[in-house]
Subunit: 337 residues, 2 copies
């Protein structure tokens, strides 16, 4: 079964609440550890780090790590540190991303780089990455270290790929999927996989959680892409049309461009490649997306990956964690439907 529909505005939607409830105790410890490990005698570091850390991200990735460890009966404290490492890797990536994308807003607040500059954002990102690795070392699992270190390299690789395809409207859907698999899905994948690793369970369970994370990450990113042309700034914590104004190649653009007429493709080139992306152009872009059902089909693609994530978990024995992680798939997709 696919997405649970939101009818009449009632709260019968798929929800992240079960995951939050299951991981509440450990996430309290994660939050403490975040504050302590983002600390430094160099005041600018905690100030800048906390600006982003306290800005209301959902902490989906660390919750996945916690639940994926609980699921296999893990009873130690290592998952708290690994979850914190995952969140730090995510935060470091956001800090560097905002510099690379020259973004002004993130989750409805000014980006760190707008307040403290690009330089501090690059360096505090580096610091958080170093702290993340220190925590992983503390946990002492070389397997978990391998998965997370590889993810760090792959994420950076994905970001460079994205520079490569930047403003190139001829980018294929396959090429774009490769980019988001690296830049977004790799961390979801690692976050999920380190759960069974630290719980010491078999290869099959590792593979299941890894596949779950990868496909959830792909779905998550595609929904994000759709939201950028659809939701309201309040829901998003970012301005609708940010991707468009930055000339970013995302799936709704790729589909609209490929399906468009010669003349429509000229519009896209003008807007994305030459930067003619004012409000009027954004309206045109949205109407072309409607004409070719580019948003609807982006969400359909997200659902496809959501189904794969669901099936990845299917053979595992029933547990509240399995149910919560499965519901999160629908939750991610229902942000936009």
């Amino acid at each position: 079964m696919g997405v649970v529909l939101n009818m009449d505005g009632k709260r019968n939607m798929a929800s992240v609440e079960p995951l939050i409830a299951l991981t509440q105790e450990e996430m309290g410890k994660v939050n403490e550890l975040i504050l302590s490990k983002a600390g430094s005698d160099v005041e600018l570091i905690p100030t800048l780090a906390n600006h982003l850390i306290s800005s209301g991200g959902k902490r989906l990735r660390p919750m996945i790590t916690i639940a994926a460890a609980q699921m296999f009966g893990y009873s130690g404290e290592g998952h708290v540190r690994l979850a914190t490492s995952v969140e730090f890797m995510h935060t470091a990536t956001l800090l560097h991303d905002d510099v690379v994308d020259e973004s002004d807003l993130r989750r409805g607040k000014k980006t760190a780089r707008m307040i403290w500059g690009n330089q501090a954002s690059v360096l505090v990102g580096d610091y958080l990455l170093g702290q993340a690795f220190r925590m992983m070392v503390d946990v002492g699992s070389l397997d978990a270290l391998d998965v997370l270190a590889s993810a760090a390299a792959v994420i950076a690789e994905g970001e460079v790929m994205q520079l490569d395809v930047a403003k190139n409207l001829e980018t294929t859907e396959d090429e774009y999927l490769q980019v988001i698999k690296a830049k977004t899905a790799a961390l979801f994948s690692a976050a999920a996989e380190v759960g069974p690793i630290i719980a010491g369970v078999s290869k099959n369970e590792r593979a299941a959680l890894k596949s779950y994370g990868t496909n959830l990450g792909l779905a998550f990113q595609l929904v994000d892409d759709a939201l950028d042309y659809g939701g309201s700034a309040k829901d998003l914590g970012k301005n609708v049309g940010d991707d468009f104004r930055e000339g970013k190649i995302t799936l709704p653009v790729i589909l609209s461009y490929r399906r468009g007429s010669e003349e429509e493709r000229k519009f896209w080139k003008h807007a994305i490649e030459e930067g003619a992306s004012d409000d009027a152009a954004l309206e045109t872009a949205k109407s072309l997306m409607t004409k070719y059902n580019a948003i609807g089909d982006t969400i359909a693609r997200a659902r496809h990956f959501g189904e794969i994530a669901r099936d990845a978990l299917a053979p595992l024995k029933s547990s509240p964690q399995k149910a919560a992680l499965t519901e999160v798939i629908d939750f991610c997709i229902s942000r936009v439907t």
Copy 2:
């Protein structure tokens, strides 16, 4: 005994040659590993990485790792990977530094950011850091991982500290030493310490090599600071006066400012804090440094740390590696004397 003097231009100076000779075989493997691990299907990554990697750095840090492992009879292959990790961490730092400092030249070549942009430099730095951690994980020593991960965090911390003191002429010598201890000496220290760690020797030897690395790193940075007001661009691979033009606070500036008259301090404020740092101002700066022996005293400070590095190694039993590492101290200092 201090520095071996260079008389009549003859090659009787302290030299890095013994260290090069001792580590030649392993450094060949390090170079292969560098090329392979800087590789990626994303072409921009090896292109950008190799621009910097092949630009003729001395590879002092990885040579130190190799020699420090050899010294204790290590016979495996792990030191090659750790040495490569150290060089990647160094390269990643340089890529991010050039972005943070907005530098145009590095080792006499255009910086990567001038050719491929700040964005790519940030991201390829992240990629190399991720690859460095993967190699460390391959080696499998949690102790070595701990030392290098801590160094990564401390280096970033030092760079943020440097932003903090940027253009602040009231920075004390102590504060400045704290900055360079973190941003430069931490990696020398880690490079040296992982040698005995992987060779599995006792705490005392680890402490000796760690202290050697730290103090060599401090001496190295202070000599670099002096060279920026002294050497020729050809020797340096950078423009003399780069630090001055960027308004960087380094020890020669700190000493000249603190020793100067009220009026001379006004000159420094104008030059460093307000950016009035043209060629004429550089000449004035140099003459004030001569007046107060700021370069000579910076080198004297470097010698002081060099002596501590020498004494750190002193109790270890004689070996070609000990001799070569000791000679490198004088080599670093004699770059400028």
